[in-house]
Symmetry: C2
Amino acid sequence: MISVSEARQRIGQYGHSEKKAALPLLEAGGFTLAETLYAPVDTPPFDQSAMDGYAFAFDSWDGSSSLQVIGELQAGGSSATELRPGQAMRIFTGAPMPAGSDTVVIQEKVRSSGNEITILDDKLVRYSNVRPAGSQTKKGGLLLEDGQWLGPAAVSFLASTGISRVMVYSKPTVSIIITGNELVEPGGLAAEGMVYESNSAGLIAVLQQMGIAPVSVQQVKDDQGPIRQAISKALSSDLIIITGGISTGDYDLVKPALESLSVQEVFHFVQQKPGKPFYFGVAGETLVFALPGNPVAALTCFYEYIAPAICRQTRQDHFKKIVLPLSAGHKKKPGMTHFLKGRIEQGRVTILKDQESYKMNTFALADCLVELEAEKETFEPGELVIITLIH
Amino acid sequence: MISVSEARQRIGQYGHSEKKAALPLLEAGGFTLAETLYAPVDTPPFDQSAMDGYAFAFDSWDGSSSLQVIGELQAGGSSATELRPGQAMRIFTGAPMPAGSDTVVIQEKVRSSGNEITILDDKLVRYSNVRPAGSQTKKGGLLLEDGQWLGPAAVSFLASTGISRVMVYSKPTVSIIITGNELVEPGGLAAEGMVYESNSAGLIAVLQQMGIAPVSVQQVKDDQGPIRQAISKALSSDLIIITGGISTGDYDLVKPALESLSVQEVFHFVQQKPGKPFYFGVAGETLVFALPGNPVAALTCFYEYIAPAICRQTRQDHFKKIVLPLSAGHKKKPGMTHFLKGRIEQGRVTILKDQESYKMNTFALADCLVELEAEKETFEPGELVIITLIH
């Protein structure tokens, strides 16, 4: 049996396959960029009016004379006419500055009479109200670096430079296998001895939060053949999550099935509560996590071990860890790291009641998991603890 | 022109239609529950062994005699045999306790010889290692209240009680309309005077983060007819987002089009930078937001006004506001609330450079928006400011 930190460290040695994929920009939101991007063009691509007003050449204007308006230029338009000294052009936000102009006076700061305007803006300087070509980003300049999270603004920014396809760190393909003779689908009738299967629902929901839809969800009985078959089918995924059948009882058949398929055990059993029988192995590039069947243990192991492994591949940052003070003291036996359901209120974390690993009611209301060190027995009110944010 | 707080307050008066929908539980992850749920059954549905071991009746055992093992009970099994005093049954985690038993001794704490076991656990008490029927949740008992966020654990919890369908607060249907003669698709060729259209990409990405796919994205020229047609088509949505054409220039045709379609203006122009020409109106139950065409202004208005309006309908909590100290001082002119792109580092927020509303490069790197009060001019290092988290 190994410690929580050793389990984390051993998992951290695997799964750095750095799989990348080219995606249309419109589908890349929420992924992490897997290339450094440079600007294919100047943005704006031309000197652009920033306001509705009149374009003219600042230096050829004497500061008082009126100007003759010789035309109009809308956003999306262009003009072949070059302005001569004493001339101006009506211009709208986003329109290209006509040749022979460098400055825009806004429409609220002119007096106009027929084709003539008089400028009433004594703060005007050369280049006022103009967005110079390349003033956001210059052609060939750095746009975003490898590792940048593609949030909505980053997607919009890349679109503004004309980029329509990007390389991102891929999300892993995930297969789920649920084992247990006693499990029936929610909504079905629970016969004597049967309980509703709930691990797949929780795992599907948490993967969805990470933008991952499992490639398959198989439910099998505690039977060597079907378990072996399900794992064998799942081995083409990047990541397999198995629940149940991983302790040491006579009907815990997952480990022999994994061995028979040459999955290489990295560890089995961790000094933690819940989730002691947690197993991790590898088969080529495939990471295999076998979780206890108790829903609390299964989901806790997901947040504490599987989510970080996925985030290392996708270069993302789900379920951050922070440090907060406890709102009340807590006692536990030494020897095991405890992961307890908690709630954050006014900057402090409260450990909720009903922490048994088969009781999901508390987990449903929790917004964090509180990690309590293995060897420590007494935790004082106000003592700082590491928590994992799960909302 | 109204203040930011008045704009927020006026938007808050609309859009409380409380639309609900019944969803399969497996699709309800990430939604907010729109009903209070009570347990349809006891969970666990029967007294259940919590461990692999042996079931027997505690009170009929003298504390030292060996017990006769008369059978075996797996998870998912059931037994018609009632245990008599002096008898035990081999039992596995999750199996129902056989009639005539109330206690489980774990397999590591017995010495077994043929069909006989001797119990070596002096800490054993009645009901040890048993999960009583209904000990997670009792039939008819409260499961989750209206308004509860359905995270993965809540979904798993409901599944464990056999619930397979739930009422949730619906996500609004959203239509996007992009206006502007100068706009071309990213990836296309930008002719003289044209720029790449990027607002739709940013809006699609941010809506996706909120679990919403727009029902339509229409791109139209600055032309009264097509703008009117696009809005008319979108009026069947719960929410319309229009970008561009909403200022006061000759080619700002969105407002006349809205008026001609009897959309009722709630306000137009807000004392803010960016996003001064921000418009909000209503048409029956439909909320209509018209945003300036500048990508920074458009996305800022989304985070500050549209996202909160959506969250009020869905009862969710995206893009939380928190208070943090500024890492450096800042000066601005009085009169406008400023929303500036920032980054959080070590518990302080830094206002980034390049804040002009047409420059998306800074926004792409920001993880928050910093709100600076309208009338204030000088902000000291360490001064507390409200920020909106956007990562």
